[in-house]
């Protein structure tokens, strides 16, 4: 199956929050309540998988999980509760999760949210309506958008469409498709007339996918096992042999000071 994606054109967004409502209805999320850990009532939360942030000058930018092509959250999950599907969505299996929240630490966009107020908590985030995609339907937020500011389709087509829009209206957009290549690309891409650097923890995302960074360290594990183990075993053998030889040579002088190591522990 071809990889799907969402393209959000922030110049078309009027901030009506129909997408937020549609998401709320689709997943029966309930009301947003002020909570100590929430910065703003309209921030993403365990009861709000997508939201609209306002920027100066009546600009509205819809936030949701970016569904990275090489997701950090999937690579860090130690039980495989986060999975990248071939269709594009990054989905979450609550039955696998152990609740370590490493995905929340790893996400470069700070997307996953947690059920802090529940004794049996899960990670909450947009799943790009994976279940709906299986039925051949669009994600609920896309279906709800009255201005077609957010559209759904094959990722390649949408990237082409984004470039076409930028090309056809020179000066209207910043010449950049946000999410095309950063950290390996995302399945939710944006075009905008204002800089969208604030969407990530820090501006200037590199092309290198984040999982590659930890893989550098992880790939050193087998050599480290062999290296450390080998060196330690070798050292022990050499030193042990020396000690024994020394004992053997001068037994009457050294015996009272040296002891058999095995006897001690």
């Amino acid at each position: 199956m071809t990889a799907k994606a969402i393209l959000t054109d922030t110049t078309l967004c009027i901030g009506c929050e129909l997408c937020v409502e549609a998401c709320r209805r689709e997943y029966k999320l309930g009301e947003d309540k002020p909570r100590p850990w929430k910065m703003r009532i309209d921030d993403l939360s365990a009861t709000r998988y997508t939201t609209i942030v306002r920027r100066p000058g009546s600009r509205f930018i819809r936030l949701q999980c970016r569904h990275c092509r090489q997701p950090a959250c999937v690579s860090v999950c130690l039980v495989g509760a986060m999975q990248k599907t071939p269709e594009g969505p990054v989905i979450y299996d609550p039955n696998r999760c152990i609740g370590c929240r490493y995905c929340m630490m790893a996400c470069p966009y700070g997307i996953p949210r947690y059920d802090w107020d529940k004794p049996v908590p899960f990670v909450r985030k947009c799943t790009l309506c994976y279940a709906r995609l299986g039925q051949g339907r669009e994600p609920a937020c896309v279906e709800a958008c009255p201005t077609k500011a957010t559209i759904f389709g094959a990722r390649d087509d949408l990237v082409a469409e984004a470039h076409r829009r930028i090309r056809e209206s020179p000066g209207k957009y910043i010449d950049k498709v946000v999410g095309e290549t950063e950290i390996g690309g995302t399945s939710v891409i944006y075009i905008s007339d204002i800089p969208l650097d604030f969407l990530a923890w820090s501006p200037g995302l590199d092309r290198t996918p984040l999982p590659d960074l930890t893989w550098v360290a992880l790939s050193k594990v087998p050599p480290m096992v062999l290296g450390v183990g080998g060196v330690m075993a070798g050292l022990w053998w050499i030193i042990d042999r020396r000690v024994k030889l020394a004992e053997h040579k001068e037994p009457e002088h050294k015996a009272p000071e040296h002891k058999e190591p095995e006897k001690k522990t």
Partner: protein, 654 residues
Amino acid sequence: MSTRRHVLKTILWAIMGVLAVVTVVRFLRGLGATTALTDVTPWGFWIAFDVMSGVALAAGGFVLAATFYIFHMEAYHPFTRPAILTAFLGYIAVAVGIMYDLGLPWNIWHTIFFPQFRSVLFEVAMCVMLYLTVLALEFSPVILEHRWFNRPPFTAIYALLRKATIPLVITGIVLSSLHQSSLGSLFLIAPYRLHPLWYSPIIWILFLVSAIGLGLMMVTAESFFSSWMFGHRLRMNQLAGLGKAASVVLFLYATLRLGDLAVRGTLGSAIDGSWQGNLFLFELVLGALLPATLLAFRGVRNSPAGLAASAAMTVLGTIGYRFDVCIVAFYRPEGMSYFPSWMEVAVSLGIVAGAVLVFIFFVERLRVYPEEHESGEHGEEARPSPGPVFNPGTVRALLPLSLAAPRFYSIAFVGAAAAAIGIISGNVLHADPSVHTPVSAARTLDGVVGPPTGGHLRDVRVLQKDIPVPDGYKAMPLLMINGNRDDRLVLFSHDLHITKFGGLPSCVKCHHENLPFDKNTTCDKCHRDMYNTTDTFRHASHVAKLGGEKGCVRCHRDTNQVKDRATATACSKCHADVPSQETVVKPKEGTKKGVAAGYMDAMHGLCITCHRQMVQQSPKEYGPDFARCANCHRDFDATQLLRMGPYAEEARRK
């Protein structure tokens, strides 16, 4: 038992009492009720202290095992058993700490059954589990030496374990160096999130080297503890040797860290005076540079005070490093702050207290310090004597105290538990973490109120100095209140509301002293179209109810007109009676049913109507701007309009 140990145990049991209470709250009410963690700071004190620092503090085990078993440094034999016990208990403490921090700790076994080889955390988890097993095997001979196990099946296991010592030690060293470093690798995934002072491509080397340095110093610290607690003599020669080694390792660590910063060109941000830079310097100087320098002098190494001070500095500094990486490096300027709740600290302290109690228990009953129990055992067989470990005479002499002790401990435990229950807030116990939004205090203004106009609106104005009270207007005090707890202040005439509701007995209509956190009814209970998070009118739910896009014409009847609120069908056409069932406002004369004037109408009725009249009456004096929206709604912007009334700014200034 010495009084000192008695007092320490009493304190530790008291901490355990607090832990017991917090444990119940943690697992009954969840993480949100017990911790200060947030969506932007999902890892906090438990990860930084229990896991990151705990693992590093337990590094003495593998460092000492290598020193004694691999490098055959016989002089360090007396340190081996306590170091392995400290490591073993330290790792158990880490495991227990993780159980508190995990959201779904009962799923921990998933780690083994759903392995993910690309996850650093998986590697850490497997190494910690395996190393805990290795430590248990390394320590079990000490337990098997107890007289209870001096019988056939156990003696065979004992012999086998003794033979497996060297392979176990090597496995332990491999596993330790793997996960000590991998705890650092965990942070490689977040280059855009960690502060550049702490994000480093070689963070895993830094973690490993600092853990080795800390391990050496922890063995020293542990020696001081046992000499203080059990009266064991300090072996200054060996401790000086450990100090010398630690000095080298800590210098290496400091060089690596500074060199790494220099190579990445971020050395400047360490000395730019920012609080992160200062914290970095503090942690590096305290944890590495200062103790390494001190320990480089023979005089310091050979003095107990110098060694103890260096050990304390290294321990604090390295814990500081772990805290900085885990918590401080994630701080963001835009108000994302995390400070642990007392319950988080209580859990961590409680776990440490439990570990220390078990340590004392083992030392009291097992040959953790073999040389202390049997002096001159050099020529003896290492297998223990069959009799009890401690001298029966000593036990008999201390019998009254031993009997009294459990009673003391129980009292401490129960007392502390009761105190903990006392200070846990009601919100936590009732699992209601919703925030009580504070209400800005009302301000009293002198105002005038116009005559009744037949409807529910009355002209309410702030009395101005130069303008006399107009005819028919009555002067009365007005309140500027934060009626909906949203900092949109409104002018509120308390007197008029009392009159309207029927005098003083009507207070209860708004003031409900019996409701928790909600002493008075918010304005929007009567003034129905005041908005909370959105306008009362929910377009989305109407679209859904009326059948999606086909339903537009139900309200926007004329398709040729612009679809907005002004041209849409009035709400009362459909909702003729809904609001009035809940409103306490009497129906307007001659109309069907009444609704209190809406927020916007009320506000605009108060201000803009009058402004317009004034502009009409004397256009030269006031000018057209006087009747414009921006006159009150400063910084006019469509989104700002929804959020800010004209007095908000003034209220904030106050």
